[in-house]
């Protein structure tokens, strides 16, 4: 009971939270088995694995963007640091293969250090300025990777990354990577959920809501923001490390500004400041374009004949990356129109977004000058 009262923040509707967690986890565990039993093409398993990488990134960025309210547009840089740390220390590039745990620790540690160094000068900036500086920083990181040929091999990238060896288990199939990522996701979400539900998580939220009032409550704004940035950088570093192992090849084009934008969209789509939202945002945004491609190139022609919209078919087959962005854009536009608070919003935050609806605003304003409730209260 005391434990329950202490968990002041999280409440997800009427069903207890664990019910949703168990359902989501069961689905995730069962998913790769579909492929094992031949019920699903490997394509979908690969997609699922990639989705989990995005889930890590979205959950990590949510800490900064959703919980603390800092518009960080260079998040992919920390993902890159993690990925390159792994590629350099476990590939024929320098002919070395360091231990998996050492690499993961280094990838996270370096990303966190990097996050810290960036945070020191930039966190004093507010709003738009922070966005511009972090954006520039992300691009500088990518250009450094592109040009520091002695270390990174420049645009050529680093091929042949050795698979990780975890306690004697060599992880080298999409199925295995899926489960490794799932474990990482579960651990990260568990730990972050705990922090979110504590004085530190509340301090982040308070900074997002009103920095001056938070400061007057003893929150140290720089320290608290720094902590959010450093933690989220560490998570991106972890995601980058596993991604590099899984991909076996990385080059700077994996770390374009567009990647940062996509992760921002995932957080916004899911619902800022909501961990389940970040997860769902990543799943929906990464899976939708693929589903649409399959629908137009395979399922619909299968059902309605081979020449079903042949133009769309060939366009999606040859130029998919371009259309992928268009589909992202469409999903975001639809969401901003129909569900601005996100798919699985933080319950409390839902209000603010809807208040910006002019019809709602009217109501709120009335409420502001309406002492009805106060009068009723007086009679109590």
């Amino acid at each position: 009971m005391a434990e329950m009262t202490a968990r002041v923040s999280g409440f997800f509707g009427r069903m207890p939270r664990w019910v949703y967690v168990v359902i989501a986890l069961a689905l995730a565990i069962a998913f790769p088995l579909l492929e094992q039993f031949g019920l699903m093409q490997t394509l979908w398993l690969r997609l699922g694995t990639r989705v989990l990488v995005y889930v890590l990134l979205a959950v990590g960025l949510n800490l900064v963007l959703g919980e603390t309210g800092l518009l960080h547009l260079g998040y992919v840089a920390f993902f890159a640091v993690g990925a390159y740390t792994t590629a350099i220390l476990s590939s024929p590039r320098f002919g070395i293969q360091w231990n998996f745990w050492v690499i993961v620790a280094l990838a996270m540690g370096l990303s966190m250090l990097f996050g810290f160094l960036i945070a020191v000068p930039t966190l004093r900036l507010r709003g738009d300025y922070l966005a511009i500086v972090t954006l520039a920083f992300g691009e500088i990181t990518r250009m450094t990777l592109n040009n520091w040929e002695t270390l990174t091999n420049g645009p050529g990238g680093i091929p042949g990354i050795y698979p990780p060896n975890i306690f004697g288990w060599t992880v080298d199939s999409p199925l295995e990577f899926f489960y490794v990522l799932l474990v990482a996701v579960v651990i990260v979400i568990y730990l972050l959920g705990n922090v979110k539900d504590s004085r530190i998580g509340r301090a982040w939220n308070a900074l997002r809501e009103d920095e001056i009032a938070a400061h007057h409550s003893g929150v140290r704004p720089m320290r608290a923001k720094m902590l959010a940035v450093v933690m989220s950088s560490g998570i991106a570093g972890l995601a980058g490390a596993i991604f590099a192992y899984y991909q076996q090849f990385i080059n700077p084009t994996y770390f374009l500004f567009m990647q940062s934008t996509i992760v921002v969209c995932m957080v916004v789509l899911g619902g800022m400041g909501s961990i389940p939202g970040a997860v769902l945002g990543a799943v929906v945004l990464d899976a939708t374009p693929e589903v649409i491609r399959q629908a137009f190139t395979t399922w619909l022609p299968g059902a309605f004949g081979r020449d079903f919209l042949p133009g769309v078919q060939s366009a999606l087959q040859t130029d998919f990356d371009r259309y992928r962005m268009a589909i992202f854009g469409l999903v975001i536009v639809l969401m901003v129109i129909f569900r601005p608070e996100g798919l699985l919003p933080n319950k409390l935050w839902k209000r603010e977004v809807h208040e910006e609806d002019p019809r709602e605003l009217e109501k709120t304003h009335q409420h502001l000058f309406d002492f009805e409730e106060g009068k009723q209260d007086l009679e109590v």
Partner: protein
């Protein structure tokens, strides 16, 4: 005479050419309600801002229990036992009522990020104590924050209750000195009366209170002492009735012609 808790010594704060607070000195005694009175723009809120560290005074000093606090930041001043509310409400609107009060305790609680990540017994104990204390504080406003409201977003409260919640959040810092900036602004007479009574109750519980109010009637009933300000300068100080009848105060409020007409 009780001990002095806070001393403002010749504090000055200018914005450009405007001396918002000009060579202001006064003491606050333990256990009293001291009110700052004055027309709009007379420098009352700026006085709060230099006491609570939002601004540093250009010159002069501020002593909390004998130690200088001028130039400390708001977090450090919170730690010295001074909490405040704001003239324009500054609640964490999208956080729950209970969470707002819990944030008010932030600077007094200790759990670090690892404690929070792994929910160590130490952290859980502190969290349970914090929630209990927060509920106690909310209960100081009888009938205003029933349990059912604790989980509602602060933004969903009535205006008067939002002002009360800000006081509750300030109390969560366990301050020795509580600064209230126009606590009844925008309230109807019945509500003002109730909140004033609650402020007196707080004094009786042992808090020292510095309050800003520009409604004379409200101030008369609640204050032990009053300081009147105009154009950043202290123009009168003393018992409420004496200050209210002070010619300088009447003039500041009504203007010279008004003062003449009144006499």
């Amino acid at each position: 005479m009780p001990d002095v808790i806070l001393e403002v010594r010749s504090a000055t704060k200018s914005f450009g050419g405007l001396k918002a607070v000009n060579n202001l000195s006064f003491d606050i005694y333990e256990g009293e309600i001291l009110s700052l009175l004055g027309p709009n723009g007379s420098g009352k809120t700026t006085t709060f801002n230099i006491i609570t560290g939002l601004y540093e005074p250009d010159s002069g000093d501020i002593l909390m229990q004998g130690e200088s606090i001028a130039g400390l930041d708001p977090g450090q001043i919170y730690a010295r036992g001074i909490s405040r509310t704001f003239q324009m409400l500054r609640l964490f609107s999208n956080m729950s009522v209970l969470e707002n009060v819990l944030v008010g305790m932030h600077g007094r609680t200790k759990a670090n990020v690892l404690d929070c990540m792994f929910r160590t017994p130490k952290m859980r104990r502190e969290e349970v104590q914090s929630v209990e204390r927060a509920r106690e504080i909310l209960a100081m406003f009888p009938g205003r924050f029933p349990l059912a409201r604790h989980m509602q977003p602060a933004a969903s409260l009535s205006y008067a209750n939002r002002r009360r919640l800000e006081i509750a959040r300030a109390l969560a810092g366990e301050p020795k000195l509580l600064l209230l900036d126009e606590p009844v602004a925008g309230m109807n007479p019945a509500e003002s009366l109730e909140v004033m009574q609650q402020i007196k109750d707080l004094r009786d519980r042992g808090y020292t209170i510095l309050m800003i109010e520009h409604d004379m009637k409200v101030i008369m009933g609640a204050s032990d002492r009053v300081i009147a300000m105009d154009h950043g300068v202290k123009i009168a100080e003393g018992a409420p009735l004496d200050v209210a009848n002070d010619p300088a105060v009447v003039e500041a409020y009504l203007g010279r012609r008004g003062a003449d007409a009144a006499s």
